[in-house]
């Protein structure tokens, strides 16, 4: 994000805090799709994800005056993530998956049989992406949330710690375990890892 757009966003935030509805709508529109894809991969269904984002944005507008953080985007994601996890807990659609299993940094490394195909070739492979989606869905929600915030939304570990209200060490563990689980799923489906 350029410094010019950052100053523009700061101006919009100030105007929104002063009660300017158009400024808030402008800010929300910039994050609408990112919030939606994040919520969708947490709750799993489009209608629930849309409701989560809509409710989160309404909630954000009502509490905009109390916003004092550095990152408005992280603040929005915090509200949306909490909403999505609450939705998931209330629905209990995945009772077999604990939200936050006990930490175990020494995760098992499944090894590929031999060096495999090129990464760019696999990245365009629908089957590989479908396997990644499946692996993400099978993750505990807290690990999935941390991994999505890192790998898709690009948040730093300290921002993810603020968004998910946990210690940075927990964030580090969740991301690593989630990434390992996805990697192991790909390996189990025949992926032999990048060459080199």
């Amino acid at each position: 994000m350029s410094s010019a757009s950052e100053s523009e966003i700061q101006l919009l935030i100030e105007r929104a805090r002063a009660g300017d509805t158009r400024a808030f709508e402008d800010l929300a529109r910039r994050e609408e799709r990112a919030l939606y894809r994040h919520a969708l991969r947490i709750v799993g269904t489009t209608s629930d994800a849309e409701d989560v984002v809509q409710d989160a944005l309404v909630s954000a507008w009502r509490s905009i005056a109390s916003f004092q953080g550095v990152s408005f985007r992280a603040w929005l994601f915090r509200i949306a993530t909490n909403r999505a996890l609450d939705q998931l807990r209330s629905r209990k659609r995945r009772p077999e998956l604990p939200l936050d299993p006990p930490d175990d940094d020494e995760a098992t490394w499944a090894e590929p049989a031999a060096p495999g195909p090129d990464l760019t070739q696999l990245a365009g492979d629908r089957e590989a992406l479908a396997a990644v989606e499946t692996a993400l869905e099978a993750l505990p929600a807290e690990q999935r949330t941390a991994l999505l915030l890192r790998d898709i939304e690009g948040f730093a570990y300290d921002e993810i710690a603020v968004i998910t209200s946990v210690e940075i060490g927990t964030v580090k563990s969740r991301i690593h375990r989630g990434r390992m689980a996805v990697r192991n799923t790909l390996i189990s489906r025949g992926w032999r890892g990048p060459e080199g």
Binding site: T21, F24, E25, A28, R29, E32, R33, L35, Y36, R37, L40, T46, A49, E50, V53, Q54, L57, V58, W61, R62, D105, E106, A107, W109, L119, L122, A123, G124, A128, L129, V132, E133, L136, L147, L148, R150, D151, I152, A156, Y157, K172, S173, I175, H176, R179, M180, V182, R183, L186, I187, G193, P194, G196
Partner: protein, 243 residues
């Protein structure tokens, strides 16, 4: 696998989240460990896979409309109530229509059976009695239409100077005409199915189905209920999208 392998640090390493000392330590290990280098490459590739996932698009606008008009909520309430009232009227009009049809259907059946009996045994039809005693029973009209059952409020022949006359308040002339008509119908060789054109004319003008009010049409109320319900749902979604 040995404890010297910094497995738990590898994700933070590729994310650049280790402090400089830890980063340097992992770098040093990777220089000497092919296995950890392979793991780092796999984790990088896994992160790239996650980043490459398709970007879903919401089916509707998710940003709240903060300037929602004040009349939206009352209109939603009004539409909800109107929809409920229309559903009630739909049920009520459907029941009323069915009850009328059922009552009419049984009366017509009774009249037809009675006429058939009279035609067989050659007795005088009781229509005149019904008319003279004020009993609201239909005459033996040779018809199978259930609408004939609505003849409770029967009318006199159009040419009659008395105009519309109910059976209850039938004049002696009307009763006599009914009596004559019914007697001809029963005395005819065809019995119940009288082919005499004059008699058919008399029967045709004697009874006619009453006009049903369009407000008694249940489908009108059902359509209204659906329209009001759809508007209420739309307004509700609009309000939910508003702060």
């Amino acid at each position: 696998m040995t404890l010297q392998h910094p497995h738990a640090e590898l994700s933070a390493y590729i994310d650049g989240e280790l402090d400089s000392a830890a980063q340097a330590a992992v770098d040093g290990h990777l220089d000497a460990c092919a296995l950890c280098r392979a793991h780092v490459a796999q984790l990088r590739a896994t992160a790239a896979f996650v980043r490459a996932l398709p970007d879903p698009v919401p089916s509707r606008r998710l940003v709240p409309r903060l300037g929602a008009p004040a009349w939206l909520a009352p209109l939603r309430t009004l539409m909800t109530l109107a929809s409920g009232a229309a559903v009630f009227l739909f049920i009520a009009s459907a029941l009323a229509t069915n009850i009328t049809l059922l009552a009419g259907g049984s009366a017509a059946t009774t009249a037809q059976e009675a006429s058939r009996d009279r035609a067989v045994i050659g007795q005088a039809p009781p229509v005149a009695q019904s008319a003279s005693t004020g009993t609201p029973a239909p005459a033996p009209v040779p018809t199978t239409s259930p609408n004939a059952a609505f003849a409770v409020a029967s009318t006199a022949p159009a040419a009659s100077p008395q105009g519309k006359v109910s059976v209850d308040s039938a004049t002696p002339e009307t009763s006599k005409r009914l009596d004559d008509s019914a007697a001809r119908a029963s005395a005819a060789p065809g019995g119940l199915f009288n082919n005499n054109p004059q008699d058919q004319d008399a029967a045709r003008v004697t009874y006619s189905a009453p006009q049903r009010s369009p407000l008694l049409n249940p489908w009108l109320w059902l359509a209204l209920a659906l329209i009001c319900g759809a508007i209420a749902i739309g307004l509700n979604r609009r309000l939910r999208a508003s702060a």
